[in-house]
């Protein structure tokens, strides 16, 4: 799927769409209860309609998939209405918690808020500490 301005919010990348998820990511999301089996099955089977496939991935699914692609293991996921915290493992016994918090003055719809939290996490918060953690491990 091509990228355009609709894929950004306030300069940050929005969550990927369900249609862009791998079968493994969808099955993982079903196993964790993030996606219902019906929705996941329809996407994997390619029978989902355009509206469904165009939906953004649930925030937890998008974050887990992003960390997985970075070869990082999400150990714990802590959602909150205006924030999200992720504890991940980057070494044998080494963990770090990274947090994305929506500023008080930013009023967004729930969907836009989830997009902003995702974008801020992967483009600002994680890159801030990841190079140092990778050097240390």
């Amino acid at each position: 799927m091509s990228s355009n301005q609709d894929d950004f919010i306030l300069g940050l990348p929005r969550r990927p769409r369900l249609a862009d998820a791998s079968a493994g990511a969808i099955l993982g999301a079903i196993a964790l209860g993030i996606l219902t089996g019906g929705v996941g099955g329809a996407i994997i089977g390619g029978v989902a309609g355009g509206a469904l496939a165009n939906q953004r991935q649930p925030l937890e699914m998008a974050i887990r998939e992003y960390f997985k692609n970075q070869i990082l293991d999400v150990t714990f996921y802590y959602p909150a209405p205006r924030a999200v915290k992720v504890t991940f493992q980057y070494g044998a016994n080494a963990y770090y918690t990274v947090e994305s918090i929506l500023p008080d003055d930013l009023q967004l719809t729930p969907e836009d808020a989830a997009d902003w939290l995702y974008g801020n996490l992967i483009q600002q918060e994680l890159p801030r500490i990841l190079p140092r953690l990778r050097r240390a491990s």
């Binding site: 079903i30 196993a31 150990t75 714990f76 504890t87 070494g91 016994n93 963990y95 770090y96 918690t97």
Partner: protein, 221 residues
């Protein structure tokens, strides 16, 4: 999708959910629900396990207060991994009961192996937010008399564990008659320094009348 396929898919999802409920969400150990399933076998005399170990983390509240609940979750995760390693060659089973309390079920023939391997639970080290943290576990165990229920065995192992806590980090104590004659009593106090309300079960004969140190702020009195 026809009806048969839908039923088949539903059954698979129900199976997955059932399986997930038997595994704890933090350490990769059995859940309290899975322990209840084993309890039926033990109470019916059909289980291969006849030794019950109760484990409890030392100063867990302090770790949570000092470094945050996320660090506490990581500690539980790391202890779970350490327990799995300890029991993997002993053909035992590990469960997280709740909070920082764990149960291990073993065959009594493996008690020697367990006691030597369990020393690793006295010093579980991990890195959290680039700080080196440490946690340790006190352990108590009881061998089944063939008559007692799992709940009764669990209670005795917990009493032994509380005695182990008093002796220091990572100690493992067997429940005995001497422990039975020194039951746990509930002590409650409020820290004068940080105001935290402290409540714990401690062996009657060694229970101090007043708070001697605060597990929340570390103050000594």
């Amino acid at each position: 999708m026809n009806l048969d396929e839908a039923i088949d898919q539903l059954e698979r999802f129900v199976g997955d959910v059932r399986q997930s409920s038997l595994i704890d969400d933090k350490p990769n150990l059995g859940s309290a629900l899975a322990l209840r399933q084993e309890e039926r076998l033990i109470n019916d005399g059909k289980s291969v396990f006849n030794l019950v170990v109760f484990g409890d983390l030392n100063d867990f509240k302090h770790l949570n207060d000092e470094h945050g609940h996320e660090a506490g979750d990581v500690a539980i995760n790391e202890v779970g991994k350490a327990i799995s390693k300890v029991i993997e060659n002993l053909r035992g089973k590990g469960y997280r009961l709740s909070g920082d309390e764990f149960i291990i079920l073993l065959d009594q023939d493996s008690v020697g192996g367990f006691l030597s391997a369990s020393t690793s639970l006295a010093n579980v080290i991990f890195s959290y937010d680039e700080k080196e943290l440490k946690t340790s576990m006190s352990l108590g165990y009881v061998v089944s008399d063939g008559k007692s229920s799992l709940s009764e065995l669990q209670e005795r192992a917990e009493v032994a564990c509380q005695h182990a806590k008093l002796q220091g980090e990572g100690t493992c104590i067997e429940w005995s008659g001497a422990i039975e004659s020194n039951p746990l009593v509930r002590r409650t106090a409020r820290c004068e320094k940080c105001g935290a309300r402290i409540s714990c079960n401690i062996p009657k004969l060694s229970a101090p009348q007043n708070l001697i140190c605060c597990p929340s702020c570390g103050a000594d009195f």
